[in-house]
Amino acid sequence: MCDIFALSAGYNYTAQHYLPVFAEKARENMSGWGIGFFRDGQTLVEKSSEQVFIGDQVHESFQRLARVIDSRIIVSHISCPRSGGRHSAHNNPFALSFLDHIWLFVNVSKRKEIGEYQTANEPRLESDVYAARIFEYLRDQILDQVEKYPYASLYGTLRESIRHLLSDYPGLYTFFLANESVLFGFSNYRRLQLLKKTESLGDILLITSVRERLSPEEWLTINPDVNSPGKLLAVAGPDVLHYGDI
């Protein structure tokens, strides 16, 4: 089973402790990894098809990147074999430019039919994996919504887009979608764990799908209810801004 991780802070933060712990806790996922972040108006992604945890060690490049990357928002994905091909291009995170932002997307989902989805918009993602189709689908829905309601809230627009996704392609989805300012998390599938932590420069917020906590502290758990269509949360800086059923 793949796993995802996100960090959000009010300042550029280096997740040199939490990213390796995430890799270690998600070690059973052997099919690659990716880290996405923001720097000076650019969206950057580093990914690999190699195992994130080999022998008793976190992949050297993953380890080094964890020490070097500094960003207000960092997302990471560790892939299981079911998530798609073995080339690094097939690994999450994916990046797409729309609505004046370059967005990052990481996903763990169980839905095959979405693989049939053909976007009518540009750019398209070359990768032939479900996550790429889900991201394109959400991008297309968001653009449709914004055309109809240009000043609607982003949370409302994304909520509506997810409702369409669940209607057109019913299934189990857990993903993070982020631009340089705000991070959205949705799940109707995996449990998400959250921790707000005080660091020397200010608070940070961590969210992950990993079952085990990434530290001994008391993590909050978001468990999608059986009767709920899913939970959507918006995060900026170290704060959960808004949270609710979609």
């Binding site: 009010g10 300042y11 000076d40 108006g41 207000r72 609505l99 004046d100 932002h101 000043y151 609607a152 809230s153 982003l154 949370y155 409302g156 631009n179 340089e180 300012s181 705000v182 959250l194 005080t198 420069l201 200010g202 608070d203 909050l220 978001i222 949360l233 918006a234 900026a236 800086g237 170290p238 704060d239 959960v240 801004l241 808004h242 949270y243």
Partner: protein, 248 residues
């Protein structure tokens, strides 16, 4: 009546075009001005009791600050005194630290009832206006909401929505306010209006919001105001986007 302006973006911006335009178009406000901004995660304020616009000229310091201030959120207030004396201390924005952040606050409107509010925390030193008391009230209620157990997942929007609802219930008045910690901006209105514009071709990029009825340019500013059957409208903005909005 005072006026408010804010520029919010996903990266640091300056506002050399929109800030002077705002000062000029809000020139009936004679009793001071203030510009609030953020460096890293700290809030800073430059303010003055002098007029922002005098004899067809923008105040020299205001003009220079408009060129130099560089921040993801730039908040500006020009004052027409309705509560408290005319001095630098009573110019907005005000700054307070709570809930783990430095916050900036600027208010437009008359709310004499809230002048009676006495905070149990630290008051804004020397300030005796309805705006200072409003900020203290919001600080006290937001902190109380975020710290009172048990809450599964306390959210900032809900903290501010509930605190604002309590404010207008307990101390009825006219409140347009801007409240920001540097990465998220809350804008509340229950009188007059907000005008917002994204992707300006004539002014700076980012999202701009003002209380001025015609905006700052001849572009298509969107007017937002409370519905007649509601008590107010609360917007939550991060970067260049309205993330969430809800009527109270």
């Amino acid at each position: 009546m005072c006026d408010l302006f804010v520029l919010s973006a996903g990266k640091n911006y300056s506002a050399p075009k929109s800030l002077p335009l705002f000062a000029r178009q809000a020139s009936k406000n004679l009793d001071g001005w203030g510009i609030g901004y953020f460096k890293k995660y700290n809030a800073y304020v430059e303010k003055s009791a002098e007029q922002a616009y005098v004899a067809d000229r923008i105040h020299d310091a205001f003009q220079r600050l408009a060129r130099v201030v560089n921040s993801r959120v730039i908040l500006c207030h020009v004052r027409l005194q309705t509560s408290g004396p005319v001095d630098e201390c009573h110019a907005h924005p005000f700054s307070l630290e709570f809930a783990g952040h430095n916050w900036l606050f600027a208010h437009n409107g008359r709310a004499p009832a809230v002048e009676a509010y006495r905070t149990s925390g630290s008051p804004i030193e020397g300030a005796q206006s309805d705006s200072a008391r409003t900020f203290e009230f919001l600080r006290d209620r937001i902190s109380s909401y975020l710290h009172s157990p048990p809450r599964i997942l306390p959210t900032l929007f809900e903290a501010i929505r509930q605190s604002t609802a309590q404010l207008i219930e307990e101390y009825p008045g006219d409140y347009n306010y801007l409240l920001t910690n540097g990465w998220v901006l809350f804008a509340f209105t229950n009188h007059r209006q907000f005008l917002i514009l994204k992707r300006s071709k004539k002014l700076e990029g980012g999202l701009m919001l003002t209380t001025l009825a015609r905006g700052l340019s001849d572009e298509r500013w969107l007017r937002l105001a409370k519905s007649t059957n509601k008590r107010g409208l609360l917007l939550m903005i991060s970067g260049t986007d309205v993330i969430f909005r809800q009527a109270l």
